[in-house]
């Protein structure tokens, strides 16, 4: 599903990634761990097509991300890759259901199918009763659940999450992690999650440690 080979990324004198290579099997959940500044987020950006590596290749679902044009990258993000942010990134004036349905609108999914899918996803993340509430009316954990539902809306092949529990308290964070694990299994999506959380590491199928821009071990 995900194939990374010899990826280098430099920012001036800083060598953020130094020949990172690994594979991730489809439907698995991988935790990226490492200290701050180790290169986790840079790697997620490169994998998701938000940044381009200086060297190396990244293949997502058989597509060489590094060779895509800007439009190709947009299509990749629309169809195959989804993100979950630490700070949720919801649109405040839209309801939970409308936020979840946003990627489906972009994909021009018919309204009836969209509503059906949104209902299913909200059910999946345990927010069926909060569909009409705005993000400001939801707790942090609920907002992150909406964000996860939104990320899954367009049925991506790869879910990228950068510190998804960073803004949540421990208990809420654990429930979100459990949800993430559950949806990976139910939706058959591959997840690449950067985290410091030991619980997340325990839930992951595999843990990849990044240190000084390199994969440890």
């Amino acid at each position: 599903m995900l194939r990374i080979r010899g990826v280098h990324r430099r920012f001036g004198d800083v060598h953020a990634l130094r020949g990172v290579s690994f594979d991730v099997a489809a439907g698995s959940m991988v935790a990226l761990v490492g200290r701050s500044g180790s290169g986790k987020t840079t790697l997620l950006n490169v994998v998701g097509g938000l940044d381009r590596p200086d060297e190396g290749t990244v293949e997502v679902d058989g597509v060489d991300v590094t060779g895509l044009t800007e439009d190709g990258l947009s299509r990749l993000r629309r169809e195959r890759v989804a993100y979950v942010f630490q700070t949720f990134g919801l649109i405040p004036v839209l309801s939970a259901a409308e936020n979840v349905g946003a990627p489906l609108r972009l994909a021009r999914t018919p309204a009836a199918d969209r509503e059906k899918r949104v209902s299913m996803l909200l059910e999946l993340v345990g927010l069926a009763g909060h569909a009409d509430q705005k993000p400001g009316e939801l707790s942090g954990g609920q907002q992150q659940r909406v964000a996860i539902a939104r990320a899954l809306a367009a049925s991506p092949r790869l879910l990228i999450a950068d510190e998804p529990t960073g803004q949540l308290d421990a208990e809420t964070g654990r429930s979100v992690m459990a949800l993430l694990r559950a949806v990976v299994e139910s939706e058959g999506v591959t997840a690449l999650v950067s985290t410091h959380d030991p619980v997340m590491m325990a839930l992951a199928d595999r843990v990849i440690r990044i240190s000084d821009g390199q994969v440890d071990g």
Partner: protein, 880 residues
């Protein structure tokens, strides 16, 4: 670098922030500089323009502005006849000296040296067929007028010393001098007797003593009797040539004896020197002349006390009203400019503080006191603002020769205080130890408290605006309130539009959610998220509204000047002939009508201050007797309709001639003509009290006025005493006050439009980081860069649309509410308030500028943000 331990200030931080934010700081400085120049210079320029307007008004008024003192002679009748007093010239000089004493040195200093004169009634020269008249004049100016006798000699006394002339004797001989031109035209030499008769056809014995040449024809003394030098041909429109005979001090006593006792009066004429008049001194002059007139009017009419007369006070009053109106409008425009500038400065401060929020919060968290932060920001803003204001004031001084400090202070205060105030408030609220309440009802209560505070502030502005407009409409000019009324109204309207914004963006969002356009949804969502920001909407709408107000006012004055000229003249050309010229008037009208390019000609009789009796009370008015149907066609004003039968059209600003009132027009030796006021008369000649009757109404008719329309009308009236509408309009438009105000209107419109655009740029820049985060997040959902730009445009569009549509609409509303009380008619010369004129191209430009700014801003912002990597979005906090 450590902070200064004595002051607590972090100098390196101050320098670093200033370098990082050089753009917004320079922009603020530029605004302060421009406004300082404008606000600092305009009041001074207005004062100079007011001085120029007063001088211009006096120059235009001509003889109307002269101050004259008239006095009778001592009676010269004796039991058997009349006595010859040989020292009459000394009496004339004595009157001049006495008048100078009464005026006082201060007022005398503003007047040209007086000219004393004694002018006889008009005599008719009976020699020959051509109509010719003769008047005798004695002039005594400052050492003049000097003449050179080219033939004969100066007029000599008929007899020496005092003598008595018996009643019913032969006409008393009087010697006069003739100018070379007059002698040539009359064909006479020194020693010739002129064949002249008075109005009763009594012959007079006038002998030419000599032929003279003026040493200085430009000597202002001659202006009192210009026909002494140059016989005036056709000045009355009837072809009559006026001649003058110059009397000497020696022949003056004989001239008096040649006419009836009271026919010749001593007159001293003071002509104002426009160059010495100022707006301030003019008011003093007007007050003094009113006092002198009132004092002389109370004297007996049969004694020899001098009688003062002048219309200078009226001339100055009219000019004063214009100056007041123009000054108020200039102050209104300056207030608008200041408001626009202050709003831009607030937006610039908002942008600066947003850009610095992270460093300010960090400094606060590291222990910097709010005072120290405030002082650091104050130092920076004060340095920038004072430098810019100093340069602006220098510019204003160079332009106007002075600086109107009170107008500069508001913008300087805003420039100095805005950034520190915003910065301290932001740092305090970001670092204060007050959490958002966990309890939902407590959060709701806090939200309601904030909303109530905002509503109270907005209600205060609204109430102030309503109060200002009411005061303006009730009290008019000079109450002090008019200056802020339009600006306050614009700000209040902008606040209302801010309140209405959610009513626009909310339904728009709901509509897009039902649509199949994802970009519209995201754009509308962003617009709805940011529509709560009040300051950008207030700044843009206020600037657009006040720019519109300036444009509408300029257009209204511009069109009103044409309307005022039409009211003053009544047609393309008006010919004013002397009274009792009925036959010549008709003949001249026929000649004009026959000329090529003349499309319409109407004759009429215009009598000023005619004695009209309305409901038993005397109501002086301009009486116009005319073929009302032809006159209505000529005017082309649908409001003026023909009148027939015993009815009259009336116009009365005093209310003395209401519609429906019974009118009587008294006739000599005949019953009064009775009419009923019915319909509105046009302001013939710019008069405010007019009674217009049809020829068929039965009022005796002796035409003295011709109105003509058509491209050939101007040529057709050559040689006649004509007034041209185009000339009147051009003169009024070129008058210093009007042209200066129109220029200020245009400058204000341009400045406010630029200020509005700057405000838009600043508001967009302030919201750019948040917008970038949102767009980046949306791009992670699959939006292309182009789609992201469309969403950005969707976010900016509502504010631009409200400014583009709401601003001009509000500006028109402000103009319609305030233009009447601001007294535009005083500038346009119209009788009634001019109708508002919509400058559609200008309004379209104002709207288009804001709308066109949206794509430009989006593209520019996209270019700037391109340097930021999309990857950074994963690390940025906040909601989309």
């Amino acid at each position: 670098m450590m902070p200064d331990l004595r002051t607590g200030l972090h100098w390196a931080g101050i320098r670093g922030r200033a370098r990082a934010d050089a753009g917004p700081l320079l922009l603020s400085a530029l605004v302060v500089l421009l406004v300082s120049v404008l606000a600092g210079a305009v009041p001074g320029l207005m004062e100079q323009t007011a001085d120029a307007a007063v001088r211009d008004a006096v120059r235009r008024a001509g003889p109307e502005a002269d101050i004259t003192v008239t006095a009778r002679w001592e009676p010269d009748d004796t039991p058997d006849g009349r006595a010859r007093f040989p020292r009459l010239a000394e009496d004339v000089d004595a009157l001049r000296d006495r008048a100078l004493d009464e005026l006082g040195p201060k007022l005398s200093g503003m007047l040209r040296p007086p000219v004393a004169s004694v002018i006889s009634p008009t005599l008719k020269i009976t020699d020959g067929n051509a109509p010719r008249t003769l008047r005798l004049a004695y002039l005594s100016g400052e050492g003049g007028p000097e003449v050179q006798w080219v033939a004969g000699a100066a007029p000599a006394p008929t007899v020496d010393g005092t003598t008595e002339v018996r009643w019913f004797g032969p006409p008393w001989r009087v010697q006069v001098g003739l100018s070379e031109e007059a002698a040539d035209l009359l064909g006479v030499r020194a020693g010739a007797l002129l064949k002249v008769v008075d109005a009763e056809r009594n012959p007079k014995n006038v002998q030419v003593s000599g032929i003279f040449r003026a040493v200085d024809p430009a000597d202002p003394t001659w202006a009192q009797a210009p026909w002494l030098l140059d016989p005036a041909a056709g000045a009355d429109g009837l072809g009559t040539t006026r001649f003058g005979g110059l009397l000497s001090a020696e022949s003056l006593p004989d001239a008096r004896l040649a006419f009836a006792q009271d026919d010749m009066r001593r007159t001293v004429t003071f002509t104002p020197d426009p160059n010495t008049l100022t707006w301030a001194s003019a008011r003093e002059v007007a007050a003094t002349t009113v006092t002198l007139q009132a004092r002389s009017a109370s004297s007996s009419s049969i004694d020899t006390t001098s009688t003062w007369h002048t219309s200078l006070d009226s001339v100055l009053q009219r000019a004063g009203e214009q100056v007041d109106s123009a000054s108020t409008q200039a102050a209104v425009l300056l207030t608008g400019i200041l408001a626009g500038a202050v709003l831009v400065l607030l937006l610039a401060a908002d942008l600066l503080v947003r850009r610095r929020s992270a460093t300010l919060v960090l400094a606060r968290q590291r222990g910097a006191s709010l005072t120290a932060l405030g002082v650091e920001l104050l130092l920076e803003s004060a340095l920038t603002a004072f430098a810019a204001a100093g340069a602006g004031c220098l510019g204003a001084y160079l332009i106007a020769g002075g600086v109107a400090w009170p107008w500069v202070v508001p913008v300087l205060v805003a420039a100095v205080a805005a950034v520190p105030a915003y910065g301290v408030v932001m740092a305090a609220s970001a670092t204060r130890d007050r959490k958002v309440p966990a309890n939902r009802s407590a959060r709701r209560w806090a939200r309601h408290t904030g909303a109530l505070r905002r509503a109270a502030a907005e209600t205060t502005v609204l109430a102030a605006a309503i109060g200002a407009v009411v005061a303006l409409r009730q009290r008019g000019l000079g109450s002090g309130v008019p200056v802020i009324a339009p600006t306050l109204t614009a700000v209040a309207g902008a606040i209302l539009l801010v309140r209405l914004m959610p009513l626009l963006t909310g339904p728009a969002l709901r509509w897009t959610l039902r649509s199949r356009r994802p970009l519209a949804v995201f754009g509308a969502a962003r617009a709805a998220s940011t529509s709560g920001r009040a300051l950008p909407v207030i700044a843009l709408v206020t600037s657009a509204a006040l720019a519109t107000f300036a444009l509408v006012t300029a257009s209204t004055v511009d069109r009103g000047l044409a309307g005022g000229a039409q009211e003053a003249v009544g047609a393309d050309v008006r010919v004013d002939l002397v009274d009792d010229a009925a036959a010549s008037t008709v003949e001249a009208a026929e000649r004009i009508a026959a000329a090529p390019g003349v499309t319409a000609v109407v004759t009429g009789q215009v009598t000023d201050a005619a004695r009209i009796i309305a409901d038993g009370k005397i109501a002086p008015a301009r009486l116009v007797i005319v073929d009302s149907r032809a006159f209505a066609d000529l005017l082309g004003d649908p409001a003026v309709r023909p009148v027939d039968g015993p009815r009259a059209l009336v116009r009365s600003s005093s209310g003395a001639l209401p519609s429906g009132v019974a009118l009587e027009i008294p006739q000599q030796g005949a019953p009064a003509v009775r009419l009923t006021a019915d319909g509105v008369a046009p302001p013939v000649g710019g008069a405010t009290e007019v009674v217009l009757v049809d020829l068929a109404a039965g009022v005796p008719y002796s035409p003295n006025t011709i109105w003509a329309n058509g491209p050939g009308a101007a040529r057709a009236v050559e040689g006649l005493p004509a007034v041209f509408r185009a000339s009147v309009a051009a003169e009024r438009r070129d008058a210093p006050l009007v042209s200066g105000l129109l220029l200020l209107n245009w400058a204000a419109a341009v400045f406010l439009l630029v200020a509005g655009l700057l405000g838009f740029v600043l508001a967009a820049a302030a919201g750019a980081p948040g917008r970038w985060v949102t767009l980046s997040r949306l791009r992670t959902l699959g939006l292309t860069p182009r789609q992201a730009r469309l969403v950005a445009a969707g976010e900016l569009l509502p504010v631009a649309a409200v400014a583009a549509a709401g601003g001009p609409a509000l500006g028109v509303l402000v103009a319609s509410v305030t233009s009447g009380p601001l007294g535009l008619r005083l500038l346009t010369g119209q009788v009634a308030d001019p109708a508002l004129v919509m400058p559609w191209p200008g309004l379209v430009v104002i709207g288009a500028v804001f709308l066109c700014a949206v794509p430009v801003l989006v593209v520019a912002e996209s270019a700037v943000r391109r340097r930021l990597r999309l990857a950074e979005v994963l690390r940025v906090g906040g909601t989309a």
